[in-house]
């Protein structure tokens, strides 16, 4: 195949006019944003499902309230997950046409399956879950969320099959410069995809657990937990945070195996010498620095979380989070009569308050680690978009600089705005608690809007 040095002809471009740089930056920003929502989706779904299962089994109303709370957060987050996912999908088609030209039948096929099977079913059943809340039996309702959870995880699975293929392309032959799938089983058992799936899903559970912990901490700090929703949330978070870091590090560690390994299809497109030449021509300190930073962030965050879990568990056992222990002090008006020894310790000295306050900020850790992990993985792959077959420079759609700049600005601004709105809504609903959840029982009220007849348009 004709050898093309990936970046040689682009040296002269000022940064913001180079469509390649813009397309990469745009992809990185939107992917990172997309993944933040995805991680919470994957992390919350099993907890909601488990809670709803227990609620249904025991006919427990307080647990169902808890489903309304976490389910409301799930929905707001899912809406943004879908929007950003759509942009990812179209962006791949619009900006990375080289990838589709060469690897349409291999890389894009799992993404196609994902949209048809997982996404189609997931959205439909989530719709059923929302709109069927008071219209269907409780087992049917539980079944809907079961489907939602299973399809959310299968979404992640298929997407990572595609992504793993970029990292470690397997299972195809080249026919006239187009990859033709020969071995679907190899594609689906690609170690770069399977280990990534296990690592990603276990790390997403850390995201879910610490978000639950932070929301619970907020309410426990204010001494409000009439339905025990937040103490249960805390217990769940403590257990997950104790167990999951082991799973995360196992499958993270296993991924190092693939480093430095040539993919089995290496040589089909470029000879070893050409590969060598492309890689040395494109060696960039920026990419290496980004990659190392990502790795350090991820592993540091893991270390901190590794200790967090046991501490949380201990705190639960010692009952330090029981609001009754410090409630008298929190609300001095009411607690004036109860002058126990504990009651006299100033608020700011209490370990439980310190702990809870720290937990409010703890979700930063798994989020940082996740984005760091992705930056590590994706920049590590450079200069290749498909290792040993297609360089990033050859994969980008040829487009005039102006068009690239317009698309970049449009989507970056839109994404930033949507992400900010979603974040604020999540915080708002988290603060409002179960009664203020988007899924709360508020059906009986009349229209909430003032009915003055105003022509707005």
């Amino acid at each position: 195949m004709l050898f093309r040095a990936p970046t040689a002809d682009r040296r002269g471009h000022p940064m913001l006019e180079d469509p390649l740089v813009l397309a990469r930056l745009q992809f990185a920003l939107t992917a990172a944003t997309h993944y933040m929502f995805v991680a919470l989706t994957l992390g919350l779904a099993p907890y909601i499902l488990g809670t709803q299962l227990v609620a249904v089994l025991r006919g427990d109303r307080s647990r169902m309230l808890s489903v309304r709370l976490w389910g409301g957060l799930y929905l707001v987050n899912y809406g943004m997950g879908v929007l950003s996912g759509l942009v990812m999908e179209l962006q791949l088609a619009l900006n990375w046409s080289g990838l589709h030209e060469m690897f349409g039948y291999t890389f894009a096929a799992p993404l196609a399956i994902e949209t048809m099977t997982a996404f189609f079913i997931e959205s439909t059943f989530l719709g059923l879950w929302i709109f069927g809340w008071d219209r269907m039996g409780r087992w049917a309702h539980l079944f809907c969320f079961t489907v939602v959870t299973v399809t959310a995880y299968s979404s992640a699975w298929w997407v990572l099959i595609s992504n793993g293929f970029l990292r470690h392309p397997v299972g195809f032959t080249m026919v006239d410069g187009v990859a033709h799938l020969t071995d679907p089983v190899a594609l689906m058992t690609n170690p770069a995809a399977v280990f990534a799936f296990l690592h990603v899903t276990s790390s997403a559970l850390l995201v879910g657990a610490l978000v639950v912990a932070a929301v619970s901490a907020y309410h426990l700090l204010r001494g409000e937990d009439p339905h025990r929703i937040f103490r249960r949330g805390m217990r769940f978070a403590a257990v997950v945070m104790t167990v999951m870091p082991f799973v995360v590090v196992t499958f993270g560690g296993l991924q190092f195996q693939i480093f430095g390994q040539d993919p089995p299809t290496s040589g089909l497109t470029y000879t070893a010498a050409e590969v060598e030449e492309i890689e040395s021509a494109a060696r960039s300190t920026i990419a290496t620095t980004a990659s190392t930073t990502g790795e350090i962030v991820m592993i540091t965050a893991w270390t901190l979380m590794f200790f967090l879990g046991p501490v949380m568990l201990l705190a639960q056992f010692a009952d330090l989070l029981n609001p009754l222990r410090w409630l008298p002090n929190l609300l001095p008006r009411r607690g004036a009569g109860r002058r126990t020894l504990a009651g006299r310790v100033p608020n700011w000295l209490r370990p439980s308050r310190w702990g809870l306050t720290l937990l409010l900020f703890s979700p930063f850790l798994p989020y940082l680690a996740s984005v760091g992990g992705w930056v590590f993985r994706e920049t590590n792959r450079q200069p290749w978009v498909v290792v040993h077959h297609l360089t990033t420079a050859d994969a980008v759609t040829p487009m005039p600089p102006g068009a690239a700049l317009v698309s970049f600005t449009l989507f970056t601004v839109a994404f930033a705005a949507l992400a900010a709105v979603t974040y604020r809504l999540l915080v708002r609903f988290a603060r409002l608690g179960p009664e203020g959840s988007p899924l709360a029982e508020r059906r009986e009220e009349g229209p909430r809007e003032t009915p003055e007849p105003v022509h707005t348009f």
């Binding site: 046409s97 099977t117 709109f131 069927g132 449009l410 909430r448 003055e452 105003v454």
Partner: protein, 329 residues
């Protein structure tokens, strides 16, 4: 080559998703377009948003599925579509994003300014979507994003078809259980069906005439095979038939029976542009390597029953008129 003679099962699947999307999403996009017309009071606007909400989730999955099929099974076609229509697709995506954001976020903050912003996003997003779909469909038939009489008229015609579909949907869905709140909006929507059908009828007829002239200009036969503006259709006979069906559907809706039949006629009408593209447009499709087909179909088949059950269940459950308050509005 036209799409359906390429690799039949996959092409049928792709056409099914596209036409299904146009028919289903036509309703909620069209109603979004008509929101300023049919809803004057805040309560009415809320009702419109609530009428759209359960549907837009379930209908845009058809589009996402269509995109998936196209990317996975027809990469050459995707490359062509993206290459020919890149600017239109970027705008379409932006419109979609804003519209959906408006729908998702509308019910989340209780403030009049917030709702105004979201309603604006829904309305402008819906118009943008309809117009972009018009440009995409007309562009695929007419051979690109170049602005010539055929693509412009065709795009406008599609816009009216969306609006008509939305009016038909609104006439049915906006009726309230207590008949006082939604009645006026529903009536406004029902009245709009006839006007919109007439406007659409005129535009479609003009588009067909332009196509016929373009075809005749190059001296070839039928309703448009060959033209200086790149209008090359593979099945002129089928094209004539489809356009006739479209004109008949619109004619029926413009007449006295307009609002009553409009639910079906508008569905038929909006399906036609999709069918035209699937059956008659000159599109580059390559034969798919067999193993990819085996792979995709073997994972898809077990999912099909679940997909269908979910869609049918959701439509049955939400068929009743819009509920007073929901997550979205």
């Amino acid at each position: 080559m036209d799409l359906l003679s390429a690799s039949p099962p996959s092409a049928v699947l792709l056409s099914l998703f596209v036409v299904g999307y146009l028919v289903l999403a036509g309703s909620d996009i069209g109603l979004g377009m008509l929101m300023p017309h049919v809803a004057r009071t805040p309560a009415e606007r809320r009702r419109v948003a609530a009428a759209i909400a359960p549907y837009f989730l379930a209908s845009e999955v058809w589009l996402v599925a269509a995109l998936g099929v196209m990317a996975g099974l027809f990469p050459v076609l995707e490359h062509h579509v993206v290459g020919a229509l890149w600017p239109v697709l970027v705008v379409l995506l932006a419109g979609w994003l804003f519209r959906d954001a408006g729908l998702w976020f509308r019910g989340q903050v209780d403030s009049a300014r917030w709702r105004f912003a979201c309603d604006t996003a829904i309305v402008t997003g819906s118009w943008t979507l309809a117009l972009c779909w018009g440009l995409v469909l007309a562009g695929l038939l007419g051979g690109g994003a170049s602005l010539n009489p055929f693509t412009v008229l065709g795009a406008v015609a599609v816009v009216w078809l969306f609006a008509l579909r939305g009016a038909a949907f609104g006439a049915e869905r906006l009726v309230g259980p207590d008949d006082e709140s939604g009645a006026e909006s529903a009536d406004a929507a029902a009245r709009a069906t006839r006007t919109l059908a007439r406007v659409a009828l005129g535009t479609v007829a003009a588009t067909a005439a332009v196509a016929a002239v373009a075809a005749a200009g190059t001296g070839s036969d039928g309703a448009g095979s060959g033209g200086s503006d790149g209008l090359v259709l593979t099945g002129p006979g089928i094209a004539v038939l489809l356009v006739t069906v479209l004109l008949a559907a619109l004619g029926a809706t413009s007449g006295l029976s307009g609002p009553i039949l409009s639910r079906h006629t508008s569905a038929l009408a909006i399906a036609v542009p999709g069918l035209l593209v699937a059956l008659c447009a000159q599109l580059p499709v390559a034969d798919m390597p067999g193993m990819t087909g085996v792979f995709v179909w073997s994972t898809l088949l077990p999912a099909v029953p679940v997909m269908l059950i979910g869609q049918v269940w959701l439509y049955r459950m939400t068929r009743r008129p819009a509920v007073p308050a929901s997550f979205f509005a």
